[in-house]
Amino acid sequence: MITFDAVTKRYPDGTVAVDRLSLEAPTGEITVLVGPSGCGKTTSLRMINRMIDASEGRILLDGEPVQGIDPPTLRRGIGYVIQQAGLFPHRKIVDNIATVPYLLGWDKKKARVRAMELLERVGLDPALAGRYPFQLSGGQQQRVGVARALAADPPVLLMDEPFSAVDPIVRTSLQDELLRLQAELNKTIVFVTHDIDEAIKLGDRVAVLRVGGTLAQVADPKTLLSEPADDFVREFLGHDRGIRRLQFVSTEGLRLRTDLTVEEGAERGTSESWQLVVDAEGRPLGWASGARPGELEPYGTFVPGRDSMRSALDAALLSPSGCAVAVDEQGKVVGVATREALDQALAEAADG
């Protein structure tokens, strides 16, 4: 566990970047520091590995004040990932990843084996091991940055806007990858971002900071969305707070109809205006309507139980039928969530 105990940082020019911050980042969880630019996120993060020293207060790592630990020794035990990856351009990818093991005096062969293992862990082709950083895309470099931080298996990981410089599609996949890794590794992660969506997606706990370096609220994402502490937090969360809350509502109990599905070629003949046409394997092909026979309209799918109500609603809005297609992990149709069913689930979500 990382504990901020009334920590203040005053820069030599008088700027108070962090003001009496008290916060805990529990072991094995992702704690996200989020807030507008200049609110002291980076400063807070860098005080943990003593890249910056606190002016007042204490930071404890499992109860031990970091101020008492020699900075290089401290840092070798803490993974650190920054925005532009900061890979060493003169070293091959495998040696970049093995940086900290080399520093710790590991046998060179052992360090490289470990590096290769991590390369695959973060979803990179082992063939990249022999390349240099300039030969990799931004997203790949960022993955290498994560692998490098994990190389010596530190219990703590500090990440400073690691995914902000890559395009949205790559960012999403990097975020998913991090969650997958974290499910396996259970590191204590402190993650800094200015992006509230990222914070909500990744955080077990989200700490919202306001400019001046004070803590506005710390809560799990669901609570944050449903009970913002004040106007600042409410405004920072944005207008679509309600919609985003649906991300945390399960589709488990959603009522599904199975009588709206017809196999290809067997359509028509019922009174229902919309019918979902499926192929012989049960995969969806499109919506058929009595009004326009012979034409298939678009559809959207979600996996009940796995995906959230937000996904289900999104799937419904993708189709003129207004219904969301429920599929299993293999993509086979298991039922249809109608407007009425979604409506009822939304009403329940609003209540509790």
Binding site: N49, M51, P72, T73, L74, R75, R76, G77, Y80, I82, Q83, Q84, A85, G86, L87, F88, P89, H90, R91, K92, T99, V100, L103, R131, Y132, P133, F134, Q135, R148
Partner: protein, 230 residues
């Protein structure tokens, strides 16, 4: 095309005469002298300037030394410096010539080494510290390899300057390839002047090639980005 044929006949005369290939005034001996003076001056200059540039660039302390040395290099007349040292120290040893040669080659190496280290991306420096490297490790394992092209550039500039200045140093009675040019003018032996000049040009070219090779061998492909992006 009269001058061209004259040029080649002088060349033929110079390189063709057997007495130019042996003895203390022969081409092998003069080449060796030239190499000796240039190399000695360059190595001494590098031994002073590289560590100094590394430390100043890394710590940011003593930057005034870099500025002063750069300005002095621009202000001091090469030949004047040479003559002054010879007058001060006499012409009995090679040092009156070596010292000014060293003084002249320090600034390009110092300035480029300093700029190279100073100019490394702060994010990279930051990442190196963040991984847990100590100050010296950051310098030697990250900053130097990344700044190496500039450090070598400084050395190459100095080398070219030293080769040229060693030629001029023949005025003070020193050996080396400059002897052919200076003595040739004095005795109106144009074959010697032309032959000596060609040798100096070739010598400088070889130095350039050597530095290019050294760069190829020592600079990481990740820094020079010579590899194709696959």
């Amino acid at each position: 095309m009269g001058w061209l044929s004259a040029f080649f006949s002088w060349l033929g005369e110079f390189f063709g005469s057997p007495e130019n290939w042996s003895g203390p005034g022969g081409i092998p001996m003069r080449l060796l002298e030239h190499l000796e003076f240039s190399a000695l001056a360059l190595v001494l200059a590098a031994l002073i300037a590289v560590p100094l540039g590394l430390v100043i660039g890394h710590t940011g302390r003593g930057e005034v030394i870099v500025v002063v040395s750069a300005n002095l290099a621009r202000a001091l007349p090469t030949l004047g410096l040479l003559v002054m040292f010879v007058l001060l120290l006499g012409a009995a040893s090679i040092w009156p010539v070596i010292i000014p040669l060293v003084l002249l080659s320090v600034p390009p190496i110092l300035v480029n080494t300093y700029e190279g280290i100073k100019g490394v991306d702060p994010e990279l420096r930051d990442a190196a510290y963040g991984m847990g490297l100590r100050g010296g490790q950051v310098l030697l394992r990250v900053l130097v390899p990344v700044a190496l092209p500039l450090i070598l550039l400084g050395c190459r500039l100095s080398a070219i300057q030293v080769v040229a200045t060693t030629t001029v140093a023949a005025y003070t009675g020193l050996g080396g390839l400059g002897r052919y040019v200076i003595d040739g003018f004095a005795t109106k032996d144009y074959a010697s002047v032309v032959g000596g000049s060609v040798l100096i040009v070739l010598f400088a070219l070889v130095v350039q090639i050597l530095f290019t090779l050294a760069q190829r061998v020592t600079v990481s492909p990740g820094v020079s980005q010579r590899l194709k992006v696959r």
